[in-house]
Amino acid sequence: MGSPELVKVIATFDSPFSHRAEAALRLKGVPYELVLEDLRNKSDLLLTHNPVHKMVPVLLHGGRAVCESLVIVEYVDETFQGPPLLPADPHRRATARIWARFIDDKCTKPLWLALWTNGDAQEGFVKEIKENLALLEGQLNGKRFFGGDAVGYLDVAASPFAYWLEVLEEVSGVSLATADEYPDLCRWAKEYTSDDKVMKCLPDRAKLLAHFTAMKDRYITTARSTATNCLPA
């Protein structure tokens, strides 16, 4: 296995998608160099290695680039020794991947729009994200983690809800996932963020709060414009 080659992660400090890449590496015990990117002034390194999307995170391993956070997590799982992030059984693997896709395809956009839009549109997005969070929570089914007794692929995929959600709720003033409504999800969030490997790559809360607060007006403008341009289903 190509472990002796240097691993770098091009990331931003605030992105939960960047966190997914770092969390996977830490869970496997792989040392890496973090390269922080300024997305307003994208580096040649980023543009060369992710010419299609020009987004973070990008994993560089022995000079080759892997893009898309969930693709990175699977690559790390398959390449390096250490506890497996995905189960061995094909159906259980498929189920974990299905719910990770659900998070990316059905949760991240309505979450963002629920936080920053207003009026009737906001009501619609709030309803949508709350329904989808309830479905996701159902996958915990009394377990400590989505992966069972240990942090796994789906826990890493769901990390935006473990840490970033609560900070975004504070900045926006919008409450989406209280402990009363989502007891299992909130319990899981504490377990995930307490894991000794995961916590080393969570951004500092005060810094994250300040960053989102500074960006709030821009988030509101772009979210409301996105919502207006959404094609009716």
Binding site: H61, V66, E74, Y75, E78, R93, A94, R97, I98
Partner: protein
């Protein structure tokens, strides 16, 4: 290995997503029952098997259900590793690249083509849909390059992900005036190469039948 359990595919004849699953099952020589779905009147079996999204395709194997076409194809590849491995078993980097491009196809093509037939021709949004579609296919043309298949010498995961959309080239030309042979000659040649495989020839839709179907959809759901 649960290879003797029953396999069922809930699908729709025109769906490029369903066709991906049919191609994968045929490549692996897996016998299965195909059940055509009526999405205007969803069956009990579909609603039970995919309660969250209620969409096709859904693969049922020994009573377990899997949805999302690319995940179904990975499941098929992992459950029946031979013949015809679709993702290389011992090359995580090649697997990562295949997954990246398959996601690209999923994120771009269906959205662009839906906007292309749904929106009113001549409107700025329709022009944008056409531009986005051209950009996506041009990017894929460049990625294919001079290779026989997206993974190199062997038919694989990205080929399965994309080839059903090639039956839509005729529809793209009708709705957008884009001529595949001129814009994406490598993709056209690659599509012919893929269609020499029985699994592909049997699965993908007839382009003219597909166009008629899209005309029907436009009449029903398109912008007036």
């Amino acid at each position: 290995m649960p290879t003797t359990e029953e396999v069922t595919l809930l699908d729709l004849w025109a769906s490029p997503f369903g066709q991906r699953c049919r191609i994968a099952l045929a490549e692996k020589k897996v016998e299965y029952e195909y059940i055509e779905q009526n999405l205007a009147d969803k069956s009990e079996l579909l609603l039970r098997s995919n309660p969250v999204h209620k969409k096709i395709p859904v693969l049922l194997h020994g009573g377990r259900s899997i949805c999302e076409s690319l995940l179904i194809v990975e499941y098929i590849d992992e459950t029946w590793p031979s013949p015809s491995p679709l993702l290389p078993a011992d090359d995580p980097y090649a697997r990562a690249r295949a997954r990246f491009w398959a996601r690209y196809i999923d994120d771009k093509l269906f959205d662009c083509q839906t906007r292309l037939w749904k929106l009113k021709s001549g409107e700025p949004a329709h022009e944008q849909a056409k531009e986005d579609l051209v950009q996506a296919l041009t990017t894929l043309e460049a990625e294919l390059g001079d290779r026989d298949y997206f993974g190199g010498e062997a038919f694989g995961f990205v080929d399965v992900a994309l080839v059903p959309f090639t039956a839509w080239f005729h529809t793209y030309e009708k709705f957008g005036g884009v001529v595949a042979e001129e814009l994406w000659p490598r993709l056209v040649a690659w599509a012919h190469r893929c269609k020499e495989r029985n699994s592909v020839a049997m699965a993908i839709a007839d382009p003219h039948k597909l166009y008629d179907f899209v005309l029907f959809l436009k009449q029903k759901f398109g912008a007036k």
